[in-house]
Subunit: 367 residues, 4 copies
């Protein structure tokens, strides 16, 4: 957690900030990431890489770079010559994450990769290995593990304020339009709603508990005849069981109006974040006894918090809080959910881990 | 739904109201049912039956009756001589529901029976049969099928305002203290949290959709070593699939701080009731687009609405909206959830019904 | 405050409860008071008095009385012969409050009188005197001084939880239709929105603070040409200054959609009740620091709490918490507000009282 | 209103954006304005001016400028040589607004001036004149006239959705610590809580209605013995009357825990913004009938919206929506409130304007 006091301090001088090349100029990059770099306190935009040269040049000029900072995918390796580019941020279709991670590792750049880390456990493992071998850091871009609301929720869960946690529920649904985008193509996306939106439920439940599930079961559903869901599933409902006894029920869909929530039920109280995964306006409520308290955490740019975390870790030479291994674990869980669904919903066992935060690095500094 | 206009009208004259004998003087009777009868518009208290004569006499005197209106369990059949007692309201441990229903039917009294209807499918079937044979009405006391908030929610679901419904979630949890009460004894209760609080989720999901599930799966969990759960389960998580494609995830527990909610996710919007099953202060919110609307339905005494419904149906000679068959169907669903849990969570099929509201009587009049 | 534990106890036996004759069968009586008596724990309905004999008989029969318990206004004095009628509850147009209070005092009945106590300071003073001389209790029916939400708010204000109180704001507005009712006739109502709805603001601000204002100023406004406001004012905005330094701004109207709220601003936090004066569904929120807590007080029938308070005080021979003097003080404040408005808004001084709760009896027992 | 579609478009290329010199490096500049310029779509930071050279250089380096872009107050006029500095943004103690506006006008720079525009009507008039004579634009930095929530509220008010508006209430209070800052010194601030926080109430009420008050009355209060309020007032309560009949009650304070709200009461419904004046997390609710709707407007950086508006108007050669005249009118209203308070609270008349938005420029483009 970046400190609130830090707010009154100035950002690092631009020349000392960690420089990023952003790979991919989709909606997320244009609407969220480039503005987040503009207010980066330890991070700055150093280059943009796109398949569309005009778009790349326009983005460069709009955010204070020059045309020389715009690259094509073919030129990617030229970034290796740029000493002011310390890391790449991969914002490409899921199936390309592995290739660009490996190419970045080869030219000695640290890698911040959008979620899901990959489209298969195998690819995710290869990515972790490639970065390790090259001596660069790999971070999975799990925004919700860096935001004040989620940390306040984690504190409430782990401090015992809610008593012993018994049940959790998380939902992440949205309507995915049929516009030929890569998210509905299995080869590019690696799945349907599960790896895209359902992953938030998997990941945030794990984050709040600090535990790993030892068993999952799941079922899929796609509306018969809906053209959007010929290659990938529309909805997934699944359940995860944790060593402490917690049972988490989750649901994701590409076919329901936007809803994103997480609920935690303990012996002494309950907690809800709703909306839970949006870029802004998260709402956290805690109930113990009759009273219901809305915890009003001052909002921050979530993408800035995430990138500044990685930048500081790079500057300090330490692994990030959500390294590649954290993304790999989710990849394994999602594979087990799919396996359960394909086997009629029977429970599927996962490797059992008893420790806490076993795939995470040192916790981010807190305010 | 009783009309709001009715509010400005006076209740029926007392002598014309349907008279009830209430069987069992526990907390629910003392705190909710007797006050509800006091404001009944078509219903009045005519007798009380209890194992504790002093308590029975005190209750009678407190609510405008005389000591002669207080009966013991052994005297139950004497109610047969009371022309001003038209119906009995059974508020006893679940395992006694069958016996008293049969005894009431034999003396020609209509039966309003607390939920769950029975402790087994077999008992529930016997109760339906006994009342049918005796020519008396049997109503399952499903309070939530008579309240304005739930009807407003049902309207939103069935009117298409939320689009096509895709997912539902419902939770009903509370901490059940270990005070030797019958709810933790299998023989008396017929189960643990499922038939007591989980039944609300089963029943209200069915009510909102008007559909019957064709498949369920479930798992149980009890905290190891917790003395309360030696005979009955602490928590149940389960899933129900409906012909329209809706998947409902539900959870109930005797081990988590009170939380009672229902969420509906459709293609055009979402809906939540939270609290959903409390006696008062229900809150209904509907979201379509960005805006979130709290639908402020004027509250009413839920128990009065329920008993007045049965009274009017008795006066009109028509079956109630939630007859014994409605309670029997839930009994079958709960049996299937337990079966799934005992078979490792595999899905269990239920009889398939394609019609709507197949176990319900004519809808209550609405305001 | 009636104790919550009391809830699990039974009401007093009916014959031992305080018996009331309700004078006036308008909407408030039919919709709120008669049902409240039905669930009275120390109070029961004993007679009804109305100008419409058929209505009176119907009300009697609907609530467990006989036709002999129905009286006409002319028969009022016959109540003197009824030993089971201990008190009268006056629910008549404001201008009749004095006459019926004096008539009740003469026949030795205690008086619960709807607010405002009278249509003038002089009448209010006469009422207090008449009851004192006759040795009966007079209680002003200030419902909001008996409800859990308002007591929770008073506690927050007076405990210092909000720090030192600096500012308050209260609004009570509704649309009064032009249906020839007495509320729009000066002679019957004694004023417009101020004595009817604005009085809630005056009274509740005083109750929360426990202080008396030493200065008020006010202005009136009626929409030009609106036929409803030929005799009485539409809106009043006014300000009250208290010895502790608190300034309270208030507004009432007969011309705006229903809104009823009270806000308190202190050095350490703020508090709001909104809705504040409704019969049910009050909402109390408290903010200290960033977090906003909704204090969910279990709701109770407000009219029952009020009448049961008076009944218990009658049974104990003690003055009620809101005696006639409490209503008289508000009458003086309202007179000063009108005076200020008629003098162009200049501040008008009131008698200065430094003590706390100077016009109130012993506080109601609390849960 | 900047269009939401604009979000997916890129900002103007940096070299084409309007360049600003920010004068004053206080908390507002460091925490809000510099980050807002970083994400400007039509606006960029071009220079910083401060009395502290090290701070100025650090700010320049942190936001992508060079040390050569840092100026001292004495160097201010050197900005005249900078073709890439089109405007200055004055963020200095109120008493310096006039001097720097006149100096900026002299060197041909447009002026964006923080609120309040000045410390006296005379100064405000001089500033308007100076800019007019120099042919540069003067904009009062009224953030709340550019944000989506306030525009949604204005739409609800002016569209008739709430019916005819009758009453308004607005509060803006906070605790001002005694740290020797200029806000508690009359000579520098021009007043206490009124020009600083109370101005939001004055201005936003006017903005929502589009009307000008014709009469105000007010009272001051400072806690006796509180050292903070030796020179300036702690609290002000005041009332404004508008030609349409609306009466607005307002309160501001330096002595109460932060609360910022605005309430509108109409014949058909009510509206609230609470928090109303914060930099983020504004909440707008609208009630018509029973239901209460929270209008969830996607949040935006309020300072960016404001500065981008001025930049586009400069680029187009048109006056801004909130020119100097708009700030001057508030100066006159505040002077009348003080006058009323000093004359014992008697109403003070203002010049009467019957038109709508008489001091505003063309409305900002809307999404």
């Amino acid at each position: 957690m970046t400190e609130s006091r830090e707010q009154t301090a100035l950002p690092q001088p631009k020349p000392e900030q960690t420089g990023y090349a952003v790979i991919g100029l989709g909606k997320l990059t244009l609407e969220e990431l480039l503005p987040a770099f503009a207010v980066g306190r330890a991070s700055r935009l150093a280059a943009v890489v796109s398949g569309d040269p005009a778009e790349a040049r326009a983005a460069a000029l709009a955010y204070g770079l020059t045309e020389a900072d715009a690259y094509s995918y073919d030129d990617f390796e030229k970034l290796g010559e740029r000493d002011d580019v310390h890391a790449v941020y991969i914002v490409l279709p899921n199936s390309l994450h592995r290739e660009y991670t490996e190419r970045a590792a080869k030219i000695g750049k640290h890698v911040l990769c959008e979620k899901p880390l990959a489209t298969s456990v195998e690819d995710a493992e290869a990515m972790v290995r490639a970065c390790k071998d090259a001596g660069v850091f790999l971070m999975t871009a799990y925004r919700c593990q860096y935001t004040p609301h989620h940390w306040a929720a984690r504190d409430a869960v782990q401090s015992g304020r809610l008593g012993q946690i018994k049940l959790m529920h998380s939902v992440n649904v949205q309507v995915e339009p049929n516009e030929g985008q890569w998210r509905l193509r299995r080869e590019l996306a690696g799945g349907g709603s599960l790896p895209d939106v359902g992953l938030y439920c998997v990941n945030t439940v794990r984050f709040l508990l600090g535990e790993e599930p030892y068993e999952v079961s799941g079922t899929l559903y796609s509306t018969p005849g809906d053209e959007r869901f010929r290659e990938v599933e529309e909805s997934v409902t699944w359940q995860m069981r944790f060593p402490s006894g917690v049972v988490a029920q989750c649901a994701c869909s590409y076919g329901a109006a936007t809803a994103r929530s997480i609920d935690v039920f303990g012996t002494e109280g309950r907690l809800a974040i709703d909306p839970a995964f949006d870029y802004q306006n998260l709402r956290l409520t805690v109930q113990t006894g009759q009273d219901v308290t809305e915890v009003r955490v001052p909002p921050e740019d979530q993408f800035r918090l995430e990138t500044d975390h990685f930048s500081r870790r790079i500057q300090e030479g330490c692994a990030p809080y959500t390294p590649g291994e954290e993304g790999l674990q989710d990849q394994k869980i999602m594979a087990a959910i799919y396996q359960s669904a394909h086997e009629g919903g029977r429970p599927v066992a996962l490797e059992r881990f008893e420790g806490r935060d076993v795939f995470r690095g040192a916790a981010p500094e807190r305010s």
